[in-house]
Symmetry: C2
Subunit: 146 residues, 2 copies
DNA sequence: ATGACTGCAAATGTTTTGCAGGTTT
DNA sequence: AAACCTGCAAAACATTTGCAGTCAT
């Protein structure tokens, strides 16, 4: 498996773009941060290491990271785009307890296959999906049940 | 099954709010429009029937409709919130074309069963879910491919 | 020289909010 | 009177874009 930095260099080269100190720094910080991060949060982290970097550069870099397949946008539905590293991470969906907000990351190969099939049935070429399962976790069931 | 207008009246009453001509008109238009609709689109339709109604009233009404459970927000991921009627409708998930924003409502019994199984495997009692499939529809594939 | 990259500020587009006046109870 | 509702315009918010200057090839 190629490393993200390598993949980004491939992408940069193929597109006749250039690697710059700003891009290297943003990439580095983005990859080290796990979980989801918004452009604003990433910008704040970047500023700590180099206050001269502007917001626009961060936004532009996030676009490049998405195009190159290194980052992936995760929609939370609150009007703020968040990104997660898409390299070296398993795809996952979310199982959320509606009582205590606990969240478990889950994957089910069979569901993924059926999603593909379902999309194809409607003439779509599936490029991604989001699935959120809501329920009540074991602990909260106990608490409620008695 | 109660009608949406009735449910909205219950909600209005419980919250000590008032039914007004503006709200009635917006509700009426919203319920008649099937599929998803953005605030802007709804506003345009409303203006045709009563040009004196302002955007803010439409936005505020959509918030009330969501709170009352009559409308449901559907995330397309393009920065525009869309809503659909959530009353008297079969459960369904969404298959969305990322090129032209076309949306198909889908249901797959097998997937639903597997979701149940997946939740149970993690000790959760499943109470609901949201699933969005993103892809490229037949037409857009043609357009792109050649 | 050409083309890419940058920070800044201005622009964009959607949604929310403050306000002053109007309406219902 | 008190509490709600309205349209308007301004504000807020995240994100994008135009621009003039800088840098690499």
């Amino acid at each position: 498996m190629k490393k993200a930095a390598e993949l980004f260099n491939d992408f940069i080269t193929k597109k006749n773009l250039r690697m710059t100190p700003q891009r290297a720094l943003i990439l580095d910080i983005f990859l080290k941060k796990q979980g989801h991060i918004s452009a604003e949060e990433l910008y704040d982290l970047v500023k700590k290491r180099d206050p001269s970097i502007g917001q626009a550069t961060v936004y532009r870099m996030l676009k490049l990271l998405s195009e190159s397949g290194i980052a992936r946008a995760v929609e939370f539905g609150d009007g703020v785009a968040r990104y997660e590293s898409h390299i070296g991470r398993e795809h996952h969906d979310h199982l959320i307890c509606t009582e205590c907000n606990k969240e478990v990351e889950v994957v089910d190969e069979d569901i993924e296959k059926l999603q593909e099939r379902l999309a194809r049935k409607h003439g779509f070429k599936l490029t991604g999906h989001k699935m959120y399962l809501y329920g009540i976790c074991r602990q909260c069931q106990r608490k409620k049940g008695g």
